[in-house]
C-alpha cells in the first residue's frame, strides 16, 4: 500500500477546511425540548392509568372508619390486611360465605382446559389452512372469520338450548366448550398467519423427508412456534379469565367463575358497602391476567411481531 492519502499523519485535515469545530457524536442535552415532551407525555399517561390502581390498593389496606373520612388519595394511617383475607375467604355471595376462593378455583378449572383445548384445535386448524391447501380451504376460512364478527349475545340463547339438549348446561365442561368455540376464529387466524409466514420450502423439505401431516406439525412446526403460542395463551387466559357474560349464563351459583362472584360481592345490596373488601376482591380477580402479562411480556411482543420472524 503506497497510497499517498494513507500516509498522512493523523489529525492533518485537508487543506482549506477549518481545523476546529464539531467532531464526533453530536452532544444531547437532558432538558432538550424533545426530552421534555417525550418524558412529560409518558409521565402524564402513566399517572392517568396508575392513579385508579393506587386508589384501589390504598383503599384496600384501610379500615372502614378511615375510608369514611373520604380522603381517597391519602395513604392508610393503619395498614390492615383484613379486607384481603375477608375478600378471599369469607365475603358472602348469596348463600355461600367462603369468599372469592371458590370462584378462583372455578375460574382455574374453566380457564386451564379452555385454553389448552382451544389452542390445540386452533393451531392444527391454522396449520392445515396454511400448509395443506385442501379443497374448500378458503371457503372454510371465510366462514370461520365471519364467525368472529357475529356478536356473542346473538348466540347465547341457541347455545343454552344446545347445551341443555346434550346435558351439559350448568356444568363447567359446557362452559369450557363454549369458550373453546368462541376462541376459534381469532386463534385460527392468528395461527394461520403465523404458519403462512414460515418458509414454504421447510414444509416441502419435510414432505420429501417423508413426514406426514402430524409428523410435520409436531416435529417441525411446533418447535418453531413458541412465540405465537405465548400470544395465543395470553389472549385466551385473559379473555376467558375476564369473561363475565358466558360465566353468568352457562353456570350455576356453585360453579360461578371469579368474575361473576366478584360482581355479586361488589353489588350485594344488604348491609354496609365494604369498599376495602371490594377493592381487595377486584385486585385479586385482576391479578391472574396481570401476572401472565408480566411473565410473558417479552415473548408477547415477539409473537405479535411474528410476521417478521423468519425461521
Amino acid at each position: 500500500m503506497s497510497d499517498h492519502a494513507v500516509s498522512l499523519p493523523a489529525g492533518t485535515g485537508s487543506i482549506g477546511l477549518e481545523a476546529s469545530g464539531p467532531r464526533g457524536p453530536k452532544p444531547r442535552h437532558v432538558f432538550s425540548r424533545r426530552n421534555i415532551f417525550l418524558y412529560g407525555t409518558l409521565i402524564v399517561v402513566a399517572l392517568y392509568y396508575l392513579l385508579p390502581l393506587y386508589v384501589m390498593v390504598v383503599t384496600s389496606l384501610k379500615g372502614m372508619p378511615e375510608i369514611r373520612l373520604g380522603n381517597i388519595f391519602s395513604p392508610p394511617l393503619e395498614i390492615t390486611f383484613e379486607p384481603w383475607v375477608k375478600a378471599w375467604s369469607s365475603a358472602c355471595t348469596g348463600l355461600n360465605c367462603d369468599g372469592l376462593s371458590r370462584g378462583f378455583w372455578n375460574s382455574v378449572r374453566i380457564t386451564v382446559p379452555s385454553v389448552i383445548l382451544s389452542i390445540a384445535i386452533a393451531s392444527v386448524n391454522g396449520y392445515a389452512l396454511a400448509n395443506w391447501r385442501f379443497k374448500g380451504a378458503d371457503t372454510f376460512f371465510v366462514i370461520l372469520i365471519v364467525g368472529a364478527f357475529i356478536p356473542y349475545q346473538v348466540m347465547i340463547y341457541p347455545i343454552v338450548i344446545i347445551l341443555r339438549e346434550i346435558g351439559l348446561y350448568g356444568s363447567l365442561s359446557g362452559l369450557v366448550i363454549v369458550h373453546s368455540i368462541f376462541g376459534m376464529p381469532i386463534l385460527t387466524l392468528l395461527f394461520r398467519n403465523y404458519f403462512s409466514s414460515m418458509p414454504e420450502e421447510l414444509f416441502r423439505a419435510a414432505r420429501v423427508d417423508g413426514a406426514g401431516f402430524w409428523g410435520i406439525y409436531f416435529r417441525i412446526m411446533l418447535p418453531m412456534s413458541l412465540p405465537i403460542f405465548v400470544v395465543a395463551i395470553i389472549i385466551q387466559v385473559t379473555g376467558i379469565w375476564n369473561d363475565f357474560l358466558f360465566g353468568v349464563v352457562y353456570t350455576r351459583p356453585d360453579t360461578y367463575p371469579m368474575t361473576v362472584q366478584l360482581n355479586n360481592i361488589v353489588n350485594s345490596v344488604q348491609g354496609v358497602k365494604e369498599y376495602n373488601v371490594n377493592m381487595a376482591a377486584t385486585i385479586l380477580t385482576g391479578l391472574v391476567p396481570l401476572v401472565v402479562y408480566f411473565i410473558s411480556g417479552k415473548l408477547f411482543v415477539r409473537g405479535i411481531a411474528a410476521g417478521a420472524v423468519k425461521g
Binding site: 418458509p199 420450502e201 416441502r204 419435510a206 414432505r207 420429501v208 417423508g210 413426514a211 418453531m224 425461521g311
Partner: protein
C-alpha cells in the same frame, strides 16, 4: 410455440421419464404436454427465465405438486400418484430449508428417523455423507450457526443420506454470493462425478447450466425450447429465444433480409451484404425477412483480409472487463458488440474494421424466430 422433436428423447431405460406432463392452475397453463427422458447418471439442467415453469416441473417430479395430466416414471416405476418420500428422490432447496431447531446431525437424520431406520445404520450414513461433504466438525451445530455455504452443504447432505436414485436441485446456489457460488458449483460437479447419480438441476444462471450440465433443457412459457448438450445449445440454438438467453454478453442480432442473387445466398441490411456461402442452413432457405445472429466473441477485430465478411464500424462505448474488453459499435444503424482481448482496446469514436465467418452465425426466421 413450436414443439421441438428431440432425437435424444428415446433413451433406453431412462432414470427419470416424463411423458405428456401438463399442469394448469385454473385457466393458466404452467406446463404444456412436456416430454423429457433423463438417462441414468445424467446431469440435466433446466434453464430458463423466472416464470418459465422450471421449478414447477421439478416440484412435479418431486411429487410436491399434483399434475393435471401426464405420467412421471422414476427408475421405470410410475410414480405419478406416489408421495414424495416414496419416489426415491432427494431435494435441495434454494433457501436450504434446514430445520432451525435441530442440529446438523438431526437435520440429516430426520428423514431416516421418520422412515424408522435402525440407529447404527443412520449413524453410518451420516458419517459417510459428512465425510463426502466435509461437514464433520459441524454436526453438533444448529443451522443458525452456519454460513450460507455450509448450510447448503448440509442441505445436500440431507438428500445424500437418504440414499436416493435421483437428486433434485432447485436453484441451490442462488442465495450465495458470487465467490461461494463458483466454489460450490465445482463441488456439485465433483459430487456428481463421485456419486454418478441422476441429477436434475434448476437454475436461471447460464454459467451454472453450461458448466454443470450433460444436457441443458432451455425452457420458456412451460415448453422445452431445446434439449441438448451445452455446446450444441450455445453454438446452434434452435430459435432466437435460446440464442438470446444463453451467452453473456448476449448474441448480436441484425434485422434484415435473406436474398439470393447469382445463385448465392446473402443476408442484407441497409447497404451491408453478408455472404452466406459458409453457413450451414437447417433447411432449404427462402428469400424473406430474417435475423442474423453472431456472438461477440466470434467477431475479429482490426482484421485484414481472409474473412468471408469484413466491414468498418464506429465505436460507441468501450467496456473494459479485465480479462477482455467489450466494444459497442454501430454497424450501419444497428448496435453490435465485439469481445476482444484487453490489449487491442480501441478508443471511443474510433472507426474500426471487423470481420467474421458466417459459419459461426445463426440465422433466424424474422416471424417465427426459428433457426434457418
Amino acid at each position: 410455440m413450436t414443439r421441438i422433436e428431440n432425437p435424444s428423447v428415446s433413451i433406453q431405460n431412462p432414470s427419470v421419464s416424463i411423458q405428456d406432463l401438463s399442469l394448469n392452475f385454473g385457466a393458466i397453463s404452467v406446463l404444456e404436454t412436456l416430454n423429457i427422458d433423463v438417462a441414468e447418471g445424467e446431469f440435466i439442467v433446466l434453464l430458463g427465465p423466472s416464470g418459465c415453469g422450471k421449478s414447477t416441473l421439478l416440484n412435479c417430479i418431486a411429487g410436491l405438486l399434483d399434475v393435471s395430466d401426464g405420467r412421471i416414471f422414476i427408475k421405470g416405476k410410475n410414480v405419478t400418484w406416489e408421495e414424495p418420500k416414496d419416489r426415491g428422490i432427494g431435494m435441495v432447496f434454494q433457501s436450504y430449508a434446514l430445520y432451525p431447531q435441530m442440529t446438523v446431525e438431526k437435520n440429516l437424520s430426520f428423514g431416516l428417523r421418520v422412515a424408522g431406520i435402525a440407529k447404527d445404520e443412520i449413524a453410518k450414513r451420516i458419517a459417510r455423507a459428512a465425510e463426502i461433504l466435509q461437514i464433520e466438525p459441524l454436526l453438533q451445530r444448529k443451522p443458525s450457526a452456519l454460513s450460507g455455504g455450509q448450510r447448503q452443504r448440509v442441505a445436500i447432505g440431507r438428500a445424500l443420506v437418504r440414499d436416493v436414485d435421483v437428486f433434485l436441485f432447485d436453484e441451490p446456489l442462488s442465495n450465495l454470493d458470487a465467490k461461494l457460488r463458483a466454489e460450490l458449483r465445482v463441488e456439485i460437479k465433483l459430487l456428481h462425478s463421485k456419486l454418478q447419480n441422476t441429477m436434475i438441476y434448476v437454475t436461471h444462471d447460464q454459467i451454472e447450466a453450461m458448466t454443470l450440465a450433460d444436457r441443458i433443457a432451455v425452457m420458456k412459457g412451460g415448453v422445452i425450447q431445446q434439449l441438448d448438450a451445452p455446446q450444441t445449445i450455445y453454438n446452434r440454438p434452435v430459435n432466437r429465444f435460446v440464442a438470446g438467453f444463453l451467452g453473456s454478453p448476449a448474441m448480436n442480432f441484425l434485422d434484415g433480409r435473406l436474398e439470393k442473387d447469382d445463385g448465392n445466398w446473402h443476408f442484407a441490411f441497409e447497404d451491408v451484404r453478408i455472404p452466406l456461402a459458409t453457413y450451414a442452413f437447417e433447411k432449404q432457405p427462402v428469400p424473406g425477412a430474417a435475423v442474423f445472429g453472431i456472438r461477440p466473441e466470434h467477431v475479429a477485430f482490426n482484421s485484414g483480409a481472409g474473412w468471408p465478411f469484413t466491414a468498418t464500424a464506429n465505436v460507441v462505448v468501450v467496456e473494459p472487463m479485465g480479462s477482455d474488453t467489450l466494444v459497442w459499435l454501430k454497424l450501419g444503424n444497428q448496435n453490435f458488440t465485439v469481445r476482444v482481448t484487453s490489449e487491442r482496446t480501441p478508443n471511443n469514436a474510433d472507426t474500426v474494421s471487423i470481420g467474421f465467418d458466417p459459419m459461426r452465425a445463426s440465422l433466424f426466421d424474422a416471424a417465427t424466430g426459428n433457426r434457418l
